[in-house]
């Protein structure tokens, strides 16, 4: 009879032991996950780079439009070119996710073609190479470059293209 009671007690302990173990032997924890999504970047053309009208010296010249913001400036390395007409920096609007930062890459060089020998345009420079798009998600950038005029450059209108690449930083 004592033995039987003992078995009942042991059995009861085992059952209680199982219940307690179930309550304490597992733990559940919350983890957090997150992801931030960007808007695809776009770039909108606003202005050509325009070197205006140039009367160059026969020896050729190098004409530079500066990329700095504000009133654009133009200069000649020889000082012998006559610069007339309007000139302008290249200008684009970069649009993407608000408060993100983009990076700008511009062609290393290009050529503009017309009635005479092609002329090289190089030294492209951007006023901001990593513009912050701000709360609106849009910001303008301005681009300058250097025009290399050949000797005895044939008069006329010369045009060409260059590329601007934007990417998220």
């Amino acid at each position: 009879m004592k033995t039987l009671i003992g078995k009942k007690i042991l059995l009861t302990m085992i059952v209680f032991g199982g219940v307690v173990a179930t309550n304490i032997n597992a733990s559940v924890v919350n983890g957090t996950a997150q992801a931030n999504f960007l808007t695809a970047l776009s770039i909108g053309f606003t202005n050509h780079i325009d070197f205006g009208i140039i009367l160059p010296p026969a020896a050729g010249d190098i004409i530079t439009i500066h990329q700095s913001t504000g009133t654009p400036t133009i200069s000649t390395s020889s000082g012998n070119s006559v610069l007339t007409g309007s000139f302008a920096q290249g200008e684009f609007d970069v649009t993407g996710t608000a408060n993100s930062t983009a990076t700008i890459q511009v062609s290393t060089s290009t050529t503009i073609t017309g009635p005479g020998d092609p002329m090289t345009v190089d030294n492209f420079a951007v006023n901001r190479s990593a513009p912050f798009l701000g709360p609106t998600g849009t910001t303008p950038i301005t681009i300058g470059a250097r025009l290399n005029i050949n000797e005895n450059q044939t008069p006329g209108n010369y045009t060409g293209s260059y590329s601007v690449t934007v990417a998220y930083q």
């Binding site: 559940v28 996950a33 992801a35 808007t39 998220y168």
Partner: protein, 176 residues
């Protein structure tokens, strides 16, 4: 004579019955003496340390420029991120989730992840699933500690609205 015989007969029956009872009692007493014994029962209990789990690092897919057609982006438990379409771009520092467990020393625990989780934000909810970790049965060290990293996959919708999306998932850690 007849009555005497009856009484004698009745006496005889009582004697027989009493004798039988007496023998039975004797037999029972003899049985009790012969079966007396002592057994030792064993009782035991194993007291386990309650498992404590804490999140050390959130599961962060960082910044994604998603494929406009939608994409499944997977972040491994080693913090490597990839796109199933190959057309999503990644920025920042994607980081696997990380958890620390404390329990009994040198014990195997099991890990179980929730299902049906989503990240919510400005646009359509993004399913978060396919949790991965190096092993679903890590072993605690001599101090009862073990850490594990967690990766997962998000199913980005087509034309997902930009912005920050967040959500929760649960990890259940139990003794094996």
């Amino acid at each position: 004579m007849i009555e005497f015989n009856q009484e004698k007969l009745m006496f005889t029956k009582k004697t027989i019955i009493a004798t039988i009872v007496s023998f039975s009692a004797t037999a029972l007493m003899g049985s009790q003496v012969a079966n007396a014994t002592t057994e030792t029962g064993t009782a035991q209990a194993v007291i386990q340390t309650a498992i404590a789990v804490t999140q050390s690092t959130i599961l962060d897919f960082a910044t994604i420029l998603p494929d406009a057609a939608g994409d499944n982006v997977t972040l491994t438990s080693l913090s490597a991120i990839s796109s199933s379409s190959g057309n999503s771009a990644f920025f920042g520092t994607p980081t696997a989730g990380s958890f620390s467990v404390n329990g009994d020393a040198n014990s195997v625990v099991t890990l179980q992840f929730s299902t049906g989780n989503t990240l919510t934000g400005a646009g359509d909810a993004i399913p978060l699933n396919n949790f991965t970790t190096p092993t679903l049965t890590p072993t605690t060290d001599g101090s009862g500690n073990v850490a594990f990293d967690v990766g997962a996959t998000i199913a980005i919708n087509a034309n997902q609205t930009p912005g920050l999306y967040t959500g929760n998932y649960t990890v259940t850690v139990a003794y094996q």
